[in-house]
Amino acid sequence: MMKEYFDSLESGLQSAIAQGKGSPRKTYSLELARLGQRLYSGEHKVAWCGIAAPYDLLNAMEVTSCFVEFIGAMLASTGIVGDFIEATEQIGYSSDSCSYHRAVSGAAMKGLMPKPEFLIGTTCPCSGGLAVIEHLAAHFEKQLFVLHIPQNESREEVRHLAEQMRAMTSFVSKITGVPLDPDKLKSAIGKTNRTREIITQVYALARQVPSPINSKELSNFGIVMALFLGTDAGVTIAETYLEELQKRTQSMGSNPAKEKIRLLWVQNRIQFKNPIENLLEQEYGAKIVIDELNDITWDPIDNGDIYEGLARRSISIPFNGSIQKRITHLQKLAQDYRIDGAINPCNWGCRQGTGARGMIEEGFKAVGIPVLNLEVDCVDPRKFTEGQVKTRIEAFLEMVESRK
């Protein structure tokens, strides 16, 4: 079923692009469809991982790797996630726990997750994700390697994580029977740095007033692009975005009237079909110009010390470390992107989403940015009450507009 879905998605997107109906988002979606095809082909070595895993290293070792939350998001976007979430209640998951993770566990129970060769868990961004990976390791009877991501970027902590990543490389080689080719790793890191450089330019364009992007184009972008680091696909996606945004910037000139309200979206987007982005743009002239995770928080990786560079990158992600680090990052984005307001979906069941809600709100208010806290399950559409969400968003935009 999933293989057919990704095959159909890939051919549809490829055909649209070939007919001149391409867009950066279509190129991005095409590569996601291809990743899905590889995951479900039965012909590739697959690893289920945590979000902070070094995907370029795994790509260099020819392992098709993916964080498990991708499957939760994908099931949500196809509208079939409810059955999988429900299934997990039968094995003891609380109905209040994270729907990304419940969907993944349910998919594994129902035979919808391809069997991996091995699993790489990461202690960041959440223990719930690690618990699911442990559950999958037990379910598939496959070996699990856990990367303990330190909280700070001190020399000792970077070395500690770099050592773990070296050990991870040996773990992977032992299972796949293929040693890491140093030339392949250097080539992958070259592509990672190239992708990083281009994405940095893409974000710089998105920061402009008015922004050349629309609310949907860069949704989930930062977190998902990690999967394509070290690959030609990653470079291609980044180049397509840059080319298109440069064209738009040149043609749009500067007309702030086109963009009445600029918004920041905290954490991840709502993954199932919903009217929010259209409502923002069509009825209020409001636009999401930045998502919390759409940022480059790491330096180019030095070929002389690749593992330490990979370690620094994993430690640097905004969800790692103290809440204050996350707040400081959000405040910087708010100022860089000159936003008028922030929307926090407070993903139901997610401690990253709800635990820090009050502190994040105070952090935004400290820099003069109003915040709308929704209480949305970003994966389970059965809990979505459109009228309630719409009223809150409209009231928030009325308030922001009256204060401008």
């Binding site: 109003p370 806290n373 929704l374 209480e375 809990k383 009450t385 009228g387 309630q388 009223t391 809150r392 409209e394 009231a395 928030f396 009325e398 308030m399 009256s402 204060r403």
Partner: protein, 266 residues
């Protein structure tokens, strides 16, 4: 020239008709029921009939409430947060915190000195502490909803009732009745449960509300016992309640209709 505001809530549909000097000419409240188009027609007819003003003389209608997009002849649909803020600014201009408890929504709104909305918080996922909650409790107590308003008087205040869930609270009430607890104690416990939830909403918009004038709107503001409990939860602050708290949103909508018409002309 006349302007009409219509607030289509989950329990009631309210209308306020004002003139060009913002004087309230008529108000009406009818049950929304299952067919909100009929309720809208009924409440409109009601205020027009009371004043004898023909519909053609109404220059603008603004709608609010969950059914705001059902009003066909509107010149605008505005959320209840903005409308309640606008309405209370006209009735109680000193208010800086507005608590609105309606049929299934409760909200706290922080207003600045110009009565603009600075922040707001609403209940989510749950109708505990709203008009529906009170209806369910009145049913369990087998008393009329209006009768409940003063049934707390004389209570010593020893009972605590769940503020988390309408269904659990109802079964708690049934158990307390079975245990022979006095009705006034149960009603006061319920009022405190509503006040606890309301205080949490208020604290979300202002950590320390002490010294800020507080007003209340929405149908639940008719219940003096709930108002007393909220006042106590806020440290004894006097809660300002306008004479017709359930029509504050509709009044705000009417005032916004007037502003919109004037800006079109201007």
């Amino acid at each position: 020239m006349f302007y009409l505001g219509i607030d289509i809530g989950s329990l009631s549909c309210d209308a306020v008709l004002i003139d060009h000097e913002e004087a309230i000419l008529a108000t009406a409240v009818v049950p929304t029921g299952a067919r909100n188009l009929e309720a809208i027609a009924r409440v409109t007819e009601n205020v027009l009939h009371k004043t004898g003003i023909p519909k053609k003389d109404v220059k603008g209608i603004v709608s609010t409430g969950y059914g705001r997009e059902r009003v066909q002849e509107r010149i605008g649909a505005v959320t209840e947060i903005t409308c309640h803020a606008r309405g209370i600014a006209a009735l109680k201009p000193e208010a800086r915190v507005l608590i609105d408890i309606g049929g299934q929504d409760s909200k706290a709104i922080l207003l600045d000195a110009e009565q603009k909305v600075m922040d707001f918080a609403m209940n989510d996922k749950c109708a505990a502490g709203t008009g529906r909650f009170l209806e369910a409790m009145a049913r369990a107590l087998q008393v009329d909803i209006d009768e409940m308003a003063n049934l707390d008087l004389g209570a010593q205040g020893g009972l605590t009732i769940s503020s988390m869930c309408t269904v659990f609270a109802e079964s708690e009430v049934v158990s307390l009745i079975a245990d022979g607890k006095p009705v006034n104690e149960i009603v006061q416990g319920l009022n405190r449960a509503i006040a606890t939830r309301t205080l949490a909403l208020v604290k979300r918009i202002v950590a320390n509300p002490a010294g800020l004038p507080v007003a209340m709107s929405g149908g639940v503001a008719h219940n003096a016992g709930v108002v007393r409990a909220i006042s106590a939860a806020l440290g004894g602050v006097a809660v300002l309640v306008p004479p017709q708290p359930d029509t504050v949103g509709a009044l705000g909508a009417a005032l916004i209709a007037k502003e919109k018409c004037e800006s079109f002309r201007g």
